[in-house]
């Protein structure tokens, strides 16, 4: 721009170009600047401005005399510099700057002027726009800071920050007003002290790191309503200052976390926490920072899961952590981290005992303590819940299926929440979704009762017709609701149109209907609750109300149809009541839903205070519930009518509120910050709305049927930084959980591995055919050998009391005995009995990526004589082995495995025991390929579990592996080895004979360690595996 100005050479430009200093001097004089004025110092700037734009220079000179009165020498120069910088960017803005300078500065108190210039000079270097903005807004900002002194301090902070970051210096200014407001709102008398502390702290932040000062002020500005008194703030600031030694980020985190502690746990908890923090801090910066960051998360989770008892329990946790930290800080931290999860499934006393036991046991070993507190070890779980670690859905799903099928007389499937794809998460009348584990009450019987209640509810939906469609009453309800919404729409539109000019040109009727898409007649005939809910103007709201009411109806029906289930319903309801959030803590809108929920499912509103506060609404709800829900013969259509009533009630309230507020848009923004929101309530609303989003076991009853809900466990897992994510399951997958041995722990990690059983993918059948052709000679001899093993031969047993033949030797002996001792044996016969061969064998194939290695006898001729992949050699071995097994007639199964972390151990079925060796199996053999890692222990456990179900006298488990077990979260190699060894040992205890065939020659000592207790063989020449495999098997079984 300035360039352009020069070139274009406007009239002023050509006039002034090349003006000598003298002329400038003359000009200055002419403009009334006396040489005695300090203004002379600005003359050179004026001159340079002149060369850029005479207009700017003119405005500059105009302003200088006035400005000079307000600024000191140096500041005056800086001020001029600012203008000059702006001019280099934009002449227009520079002119403005000079013109507004006088009034801007006049509005500011004396000390602020200096500071403002100092700040802008810093800012201008990086961002003229920022500087200009600061300058312009400074009077307004200063006014909003209240007293002059505070304003001066804040500007000073901003200047300090600007040394490092212009952006943050601006943020200091913008964050400050809210911070000051928050501080002043606490208490008129004592707030000065709090303001002083806060600003002092902000100054320290500014001196240390700059940026954090702005963030600190912003944090203060978020509201301090939760602080009991300004003294607490003073104290908080003092403590934070101490943490400044450790860096701005740490101190800031301290402040934020402390704030969170006070907010959810009160001042008492804060003091405890502070003690702990000090102890943690003594261990180092990194750890204290971790602890600080973790604190709000942990507390929020406890608050979310403990609801009513949140403050009390948080207090208890902190007390305990403080106690533990005096013994071992690291261990105390682990305990703190795990506390939400532990608390979720145990009583306070159980939790305390468990926590103390942990530090007792693992004081010296952080890793063990971690495992203990992460509830990974069995002994830990047992300590926590007295040998009860909850009821897993798997262990009861068969029973529950029988139960619901009995109740409903329909085929039902039980699925774990979250183990099936999102879209089918609805309880569709065929699938009942239940939590995968219930560890709620501390005893298996009680936990099962929760499952039973949830299942009964789901069955109730089927039995009592939640999904019935096209009934007369549903159609009538649809009609009623349809008409009601159409009328409402028409009224709304005509009201709108009354004050619109073009109303006369429009067809109101037509417009009135156009907003609602017409209902398809077929949909009318087959209307179900979903059809009807979709006809509400706000289907989401309607769905939410409906879900609660319908569950209320089912609950009532269950109680009245089945006497016995009432005991269980009441038992669970009591827990439910404990878990409801206190209504006073909810926003009005949430409170309304909550009350509806409590009325329909908890037998009434729990809080006394809420009952009084909301007496009117409560009465309305109770009437609706009594009229439509709690009566004989109520159907889903009645629930829908009730839904409509409640909907209208809420809608009415809402529109009334809207018209009161005169709000210009019709969206409902209860969470919007209200200017009169004095006590930081909006902040609270936000957190509690997040809290509500977390589902617990019961939220199935209040949340929209189709809503997908993240579960508590997700949150907890995140908290525990669970390392492995679970892969999604495919159709037909079956899931199993197995313990894993942790050698350092000296204990099993409970249900540590998730094994996904899946049919192996089908490949080409050719593979098996080709192998058969290639090995045809060998196959026929194998067949012959194995047929010999068939149980066709009869075994002769001598010395029997009875039998087909005399045992000649025995007869002779008898004769001799008779003559000599006189006490002959009467076992004189030979008997023939069928020899029984009763063998079941499982082949377990390592399908990890290491089997992709190519083995060749001719390493120098890779193209003409390529080698073979280990996996292909193994496959060939399986083909020959199958031929042998078919010949001998033993019962056998084949499977393969690979893994991707402990939650994704894949177990591929190639042939089941009960399957024939048919084309399907042949294709599955053809489809064998390599994937990922080798979590051997889990695979062995799963294979052994399958074998245990076979009732053969001899049960064999043959593991075909290329070497060492490995998985990314399978510990070090010793961990993996010891787990594998334990798995093998356990299978032997269960009556299975494990045998390992491996091809890894390199590490014989490790192999001995691994398989030493059971039989194993190493195949040197892996290419010979196919031929050798049947021989090995024959030896094993004869």
């Amino acid at each position: 721009m300035s360039e352009e100005n020069k070139e274009s050479g406007g009239p002023g430009g050509s006039l002034l170009r090349g003006l000598a200093g003298k002329t400038v001097e003359a000009l200055a004089l002419k403009m009334g600047l006396k040489p005695s004025d300090r203004g002379w110092v600005t003359l050179d700037i004026g001159a340079s401005l002149m060369s850029a734009s005479p207009k700017v220079a003119k405005d500059f000179f105009k302003a200088v005399p006035e400005v000079a009165r307000m600024l000191e020498n140096g500041d005056l120069r800086s001020w001029a510099e600012i203008g000059k910088r702006i001019a280099q960017q934009n002449a227009e803005e520079a002119s403005d700057f000079f013109r507004y300078s006088i009034e801007t500065l006049e509005l500011l108190a004396e000390p602020l002027r200096r500071l403002l210039v100092a700040l802008c000079v810093k800012q201008i270097v990086l961002s003229p726009a920022a500087a200009l903005k600061t300058f312009r807004q400074s009077p307004a900002l200063a006014a909003s800071f209240g007293d002059e002194q505070s304003a001066a301090r804040i500007f000073t902070i901003a200047v300090e920050v600007a040394h490092r970051s212009v952006k943050h210096s601006t943020e200091v200014l913008t964050a400050a007003p809210a911070a000051l407001t928050a501080l002043r709102e606490m208490d008129d008398q004592a707030s000065d002290a709090a303001i002083d502390s806060t600003l002092t702290l902000a100054e320290s932040f500014a001196q240390r790191t700059g940026a954090t000062a702005a963030e600190f002020l912003a944090a203060v500005g978020e509201g301090l309503g939760f602080l009991a008194s300004p003294e607490v703030m003073v104290d908080l600031c003092r403590q934070t200052t101490i943490y400044l030694e450790r860096g701005g980020a740490t101190a800031l985190q301290f402040f934020r976390s402390a704030r969170a502690v006070i907010e959810v746990g009160g001042v008492e908890s804060y003091r405890r926490w502070n003690q702990v923090t000090d102890k943690v801090a003594a261990e180092g910066n990194a750890i204290v920072y971790d602890f600080l960051r973790l604190t709000p998360k942990v507390l929020a989770t406890i608050a979310a899961t403990q609801r009513r008892h949140a403050a009390e329990r948080i207090g208890a946790v902190l007390e305990l952590v403080e106690e533990l930290s005096s013994q071992n800080v690291y261990v105390a931290l682990e305990c703190f981290k795990s506390s939400p999860r532990a608390m979720a499934s145990a009583s306070l006393e159980q939790f305390q005992a468990w926590a103390r036991e942990g530090v007792q046991l693992h004081r010296g070993d952080r890793r063990k303590a971690q495992a203990y507190y992460a509830l990974e070890s069995k002994s830990s779980q047992e300590t926590l819940r007295g040998a009860h670690d909850g009821v897993a859905l798997e262990s009861v799903s068969h029973l529950l299926r029988l139960y619901v099928e009995g109740l409903t007389g329909r085929e039902m499937a039980i699925a774990a929440l979250g183990s099936i794809p999102e879209e089918s998460r609805i309880n569709d009348g065929h699938t009942i979704q239940l939590p995968s584990v219930v560890a709620e009450f501390g005893s298996p019987d009680d936990d099962f009762r929760l499952y039973k209640v949830l299942a009964a509810h789901a069955a109730g939906q089927v039995e009592f017709g939640t999904r019935e469609a096209g009934t007369g009453s549903l159609r009538a309800t649809l009609n009623e609701i349809e008409t009601s919404f159409e009328n409402a729409e028409r009224r709304r539109l005509s009201a709108e149109m009354r004050d619109t000019e073009y109303v006369q040109y429009s067809n109101v009727e037509h417009l009135g209907l156009s907003n609602r898409r017409p209902l398809d007649p077929l949909a009318f005939e087959t209307a179900d609750y979903k059809t009807i809910l979709s006809r509400f103007t706000n289907p989401l709201l309607a769905t939410r109300i409906f879900t609660t009411l319908e569950n209320g109806r089912i609950d009532w029906k269950l109680r009245h149809t089945y006497r016995g289930i009432r005991r269980d319903l009441d038992f669970v309801r009591n827990r439910l009541i404990e878990r409801r959030p206190p209504i006073v803590e909810l926003s009005v809108e949430q409170a309304v839903y909550e009350m509806l929920f409590q009325i329909t499912l908890c037998g009434g509103v729990i809080d006394e205070a809420a009952r009084r506060a909301y007496a009117g609404v409560i009465l309305d709800f109770e009437l609706i519930v009594a009229e439509y829900i709690r009566r004989d013969g109520a159907t889903v259509a009645d629930t829908l009518v009730a839904t409509h009533r409640v909907y209208q009630l809420l809608d009415g309230q809402r529109s009334r509120k809207e018209s009161d507020d005169q709000s210009e848009d019709d969206r409902d923004d209860t969470n919007q910050e209200q200017p009169d929101d004095r006590d930081g309530k909006s902040e609270q609303q936000q957190t509690s709305s997040q809290t509500r989003k977390r589902s617990d076991l019961f939220d199935q009853w209040s949340q929209a049927v189709e809503e997908t809900t993240p579960t508590d466990t997700e949150l907890l897992n995140e908290l525990m930084n669970a390392e492995t994510s679970e892969q999604a399951l495919q159709d037909g997958d079956e899931v199993f959980f197995y313990d894993e041995w942790d050698r350092e722990l000296g204990d099993h990690r409970a249900k540590w591995c998730r094994v996904i059983q899946r049919e192996n993918r089908r490949g080409a059948r050719d593979f098996v055919e080709q192998v058969r052709t290639r090995y045809s000679g060998i196959i026929s001899s194998i067949r012959h050998q194995f047929q010999m093993l068939r149980p066709e031969s009869l075994r002769r047993i001598k010395g029997e009391i009875d039998g087909e033949d005399f045992d000649l030797q025995a007869v002779i002996d008898h004769h001799v005995d008779l003559k000599t001792t006189g006490r002959p044996s009467d076992r004189l016969y030979i008997r023939r009995i069928r020899r029984e061969r009763d063998v079941a064998v499982s082949f377990l194939l390592d399908m990890s990526s290491s089997t992709a290695r190519t083995i060749t006898r001719h390493p120098n001729q890779p193209y003409t004589r390529p080698g073979q992949k280990i996996i292909d050699i193994e496959k060939q071995g399986l083909v020959l082995m199958s031929e042998a097994l078919e010949a001998v007639g033993d019962s056998y199964s084949i499977s393969g495995f690979s893994s991707e972390g402990r939650r994704n151990v894949k177990y591929f079925i190639i042939k089941r025991f009960e399957e024939k060796y048919n084309q399907e199996v042949e294709r599955r053999i053809g489809g064998i390929t390599y994937h990922n890692n080798t979590r051997l222990g889990a695979a062995i456990r799963h294979a052994a579990a399958g074998l245990e179900r076979q009732d053969a006298r001899t049960r064999l488990l043959i593991v075909l592996s290329d070497g060492r077990p490995y998985d990314h979260d399978y510990g070090d190699s010793r961990y993996a080895r010891e787990d594998t060894r334990t798995a093998l040992r356990q299978s032997r205890i269960a009556g299975i004979t494990p045998f390992c065939i491996t091809i890894d020659r390199d590490s014989e000592s490790e192999l001995k360690d691994l398989y030493g207790e059971v039989g194993y063989t190493i195949i040197d020449d892996i290419l010979s595996l196919p031929e050798r495999l049947p021989g090995i098997y024959r030896r094993l079984t004869t």
Partner: protein, 278 residues
């Protein structure tokens, strides 16, 4: 009654009095089975009662026999039941051989109702024996005596058959089944069954209703490892246990869950259903 067929043979017919029903059996008619049965009786047609065990077939025949004023001779069929067992045999009594009428012969002679319960259990060659009685000849050949007995008009043959077993070995041959009218029986509908359980078991109507509800739910489990649903008879047993002071859940355990299955999961499932209802 003793008579001589010829000089050597002494024939001993069985007294019929003990087969006459003296008290009216309690039977609650469920549909039109009573009138159908009467019509069949008048038309002298044999009847087959089809249905699961314990649903009231026997009781029905008893009630009908009383109603029609005929004696009722019931034979529970089993694998070892031979033709001789049904028709009769010679027995040595001192010096003499004495012929004893079997139950079928007795029924034919006296014009009684003969009820062959669970007829598939009998051996195939035994079943063939009834064929000439079930067509328009209505005769019973007594080979050992070398005579043909003509069935009087008031004789009636009734068999029962449980199609639920679904085993090839226990299927009634077409040649047999196509000789009978067939009356389908099933567990009585809930209200009727409630009355039956209350009456037979001596419990209040509300207890009976619960038991019937349990029955209904447990019957839903047929095909999930349960061969057959719980019978009305077992519900009556449960009621009787309750009536004599056994705790209801326990009564259901011993009269329902345990008798119908050995599968522990199923038993537990049934128990959960029981505790849901009572």
């Amino acid at each position: 009654m003793t008579e001589s067929l010829n000089d050597k043979t002494i024939v001993k017919a069985q007294p019929i009095e003990k087969y006459v029903l003296t008290r009216e059996p309690y039977y609650l008619s469920v549909r039109d089975e009573v009138s159908i049965f009467e019509t069949a009786y008048k038309a002298r047609l044999p009847v087959m009662l089809k249905g699961p065990t314990g649903c009231g077939k026997t009781r029905f025949v008893e009630a009908m026999a009383y109603r029609l004023g005929r004696p009722l001779i019931t034979v529970a069929c089993h694998e070892d039941l031979s033709a001789t067992d049904l028709v009769g045999r010679f027995l040595l009594e001192g010096e003499e051989t004495v012929w004893h009428d079997g139950p079928l012969t007795t029924a034919v002679r006296h014009g009684a109702i003969c009820y062959l319960d669970e007829v598939v259990e009998a051996r195939k060659d035994t079943i063939v024996l009834i064929h000439p009685l079930t067509d328009d000849r209505r005769i019973l050949p007594v080979e050992k005596l070398g005579i043909l007995l003509n069935a009087p008009n008031d004789f009636m043959l009734v068999i029962s058959y449980n199609p639920g077993y679904q085993s090839v070995l226990k299927d009634l041959k077409q040649s047999t089944r196509q000789r009978f009218l067939s009356l389908e029986f099933d567990y009585p509908p809930a209200t009727a069954e409630t009355n039956i359980v209350a009456h037979e078991g001596g419990v209040s109507e509300s207890v009976a209703r619960d038991l019937v509800k349990i029955g209904e739910k447990v019957r839903n489990l047929k095909g999930h490892g349960l061969e057959e649903g719980v019978s009305t008879r077992l519900l009556v047993y449960a009621a009787q246990m309750i009536a004599s002071g056994i705790e209801p859940v326990t009564a259901c355990e011993i009269a329902i869950a345990s008798p119908i299955t050995d599968d522990l999961d199923l038993q537990r499932g049934i128990r959960e259903i029981v505790t849901t209802i009572i």
